[in-house]
Amino acid sequence: MSAALTVHRIGPAASVQDGGRPGLLASGLARGGALDRRALAEAAALLGARSPLAGLELPGTGGAFSVDAPITFALTGAPMAARIDGRALAWSATHRLHPGEGLEIGAVRRGAVGYLTPAGSIDSAPLLGSRSAHIAAGLGRWLAPGDSLPCATAPGDEALAGRLLSPEDRFSGGVLRVLPGPQTGLFPAPLRAAFAGARFRIGPRTNRQAAELLCPDWQPNHHAGDLVSDIIGPGDIQITGDGTPFVLLAECQTIGGYPRIGTVHPADLPTLVQSGSDAALSFRFTAEEDAPAWVPEAEEIAALARRITPLRRDPATMPDLLSYQLISGVTAGDDA
């Protein structure tokens, strides 16, 4: 069974994303996939899946959507204002959308990138093993009004609606752990200390390939030398020619020559991706043995699934309190 999810309005740089295409580095293709991989895992957990599903990545703002058959969907990542026909929806939760209803997703309240994931996954034809758009490689494209996206549906989907997963706050910046990489040793200790002491914010030259880090006090007068190009990957912190650091993201190039001071720990990369331009970020060099160990994707999803609770309606999010009977059995008070 399937449903069509129609896009009526959508923000810029929105795209279909899943776990991406690992294993093609030797052919020059970065893994790609969702910028905030934890949001992908949260959606999978909420929707009872064991591996990531393909959903809509919505940077900054959402859009307006409808369906031609009922679907259950998850809203994860950066909290956004979301409503179905004016009824406010809890974020980081699952809901049901019926034909004839309008789902509207507005701007982010905190963080940077939200995700809308249907229970059966966006069911477009995979290309090179993934449904992800990889714009830099010319695979897929940005979403546009009028797009109709196939969603797989199943009879059990309805029971997946009304679930809540309180996310760990990763939407306000913070201290990110940096693992030493192959070129960390090329940076003198005082320079590494200066980097770790600087407070950065995300700059405007940020996209799916890399995030720009800005800090007025960070002006390295050191050049790590003319390096032979090397394999690079998401999380790597490149120090470019004028000293501006860029953290490589999902769609980065696979070979690069800029020296890299270290690699953001994969557990902290979602925090970087979700930092808006007002969030303060700093970095702490952390030895691998002192850092959290690798967590397989299936284990991460299973751990998140254990934290799911039923979604109870929160009076604060109700659009019209008078339309609800708050306490049963109470009369109007004038019938004495």
Binding site: A26, G28, G138, G181, D226, D230, I231, A291, A293, P296
Partner: protein
């Protein structure tokens, strides 16, 4: 890229939680690159437990592993044992495949051939002869999907890229610097000098084989006129631009 080569044993370095870099040199030299290619062939043949991909760069090899199956320490130990058993005089393994690729080295398809030849101390005819007679290898694929770094050209071709002026080159542009050639996948600005053009499309997402080239492939260019290149491309109709693949072993 022009510093003196490092003579010490290869370094094993961490890269993220699931990556390991085997660095043979900090500068591109023939020896370092041959060592990368030789070790890559051996590491692939060894079928090491938990290794998910082995990716050659110009002077280093990147290995991604599954930390649920193996550990950095265990993999490093296995690699060190292989390095200890390696011949001191490492040669690149013979190629498994060879491409013969039509290329145009004339007119608008080779706008900087003359400048490049002059910088290499060659006449244009000598430069074209070097480009067609040198059998290059795919040293690495990257920057853009399917896009090869080819080399090494003879030592005279060790000409740095332009540092300031960059120009836009078309897809298929063959550009040279630092004894290497790059065959561009997409239109792109570059400081490398365009010495020719091929009709071979190195990445075709919808094709049965989306990536034409593999690391280690041998390549030879066959000089054709611009009109001949167009004709070959049109007649082949497969995006390979008249390129022919020979399987050697």
């Amino acid at each position: 890229m022009t510093g003196s080569p490092q003579r010490s044993a290869p370094e094993l370095l961490p890269h993220g939680l699931d990556g390991l870099v085997l660095r043979f040199a900090t500068a591109l030299t023939e020896e370092a690159n041959a060592a990368v290619q030789a070790f890559r062939a051996r590491a692939e043949a060894a079928d090491l437990d938990g290794v998910l991909e082995i990716v050659p760069a110009l002077a280093s090899l990147y290995l991604r592993f599954d930390p649920a199956v193996t550990s950095r320490a265990a993999l490093a130990e296995a690699l060190r044992a292989m390095l200890d058993g390696a011949d001191a005089a490492t040669a690149a393994p013979p190629p498994r495949r060879r491409w013969i690729i039509p290329a145009c080295f004339e007119g608008a398809d080779a706008p900087e051939l003359g400048e490049m030849a002059r910088l290499a101390g060659l006449s244009e005819a000598e430069a074209i002869r070097a480009l067609t007679e040198t059998e290059t290898r795919v040293l690495a694929i990257g920057f853009a999907p399917g896009q090869p770094y080819l080399g090494l050209l003879p030592p005279q071709w060790n000409v740095p890229r332009r540092t300031s002026l960059t120009r836009e080159v078309p897809a298929g542009a063959l550009v040279a610097a630092l004894r290497q050639l790059v065959l561009f996948a997409n239109p792109s600005p570059t400081g490398w000098r365009q010495v020719g053009r091929c009709a071979l499309r190195v990445f075709q997402p919808e094709a049965e084989r989306p990536f034409a080239l593999q690391p280690g492939d041998a390549l030879r260019f066959r000089a054709v006129s611009g009109a001949e290149l167009e004709r070959l491309d049109r007649e082949a109709g497969d995006g390979l631009g008249g390129a022919v693949l020979e399987r050697l072993r």
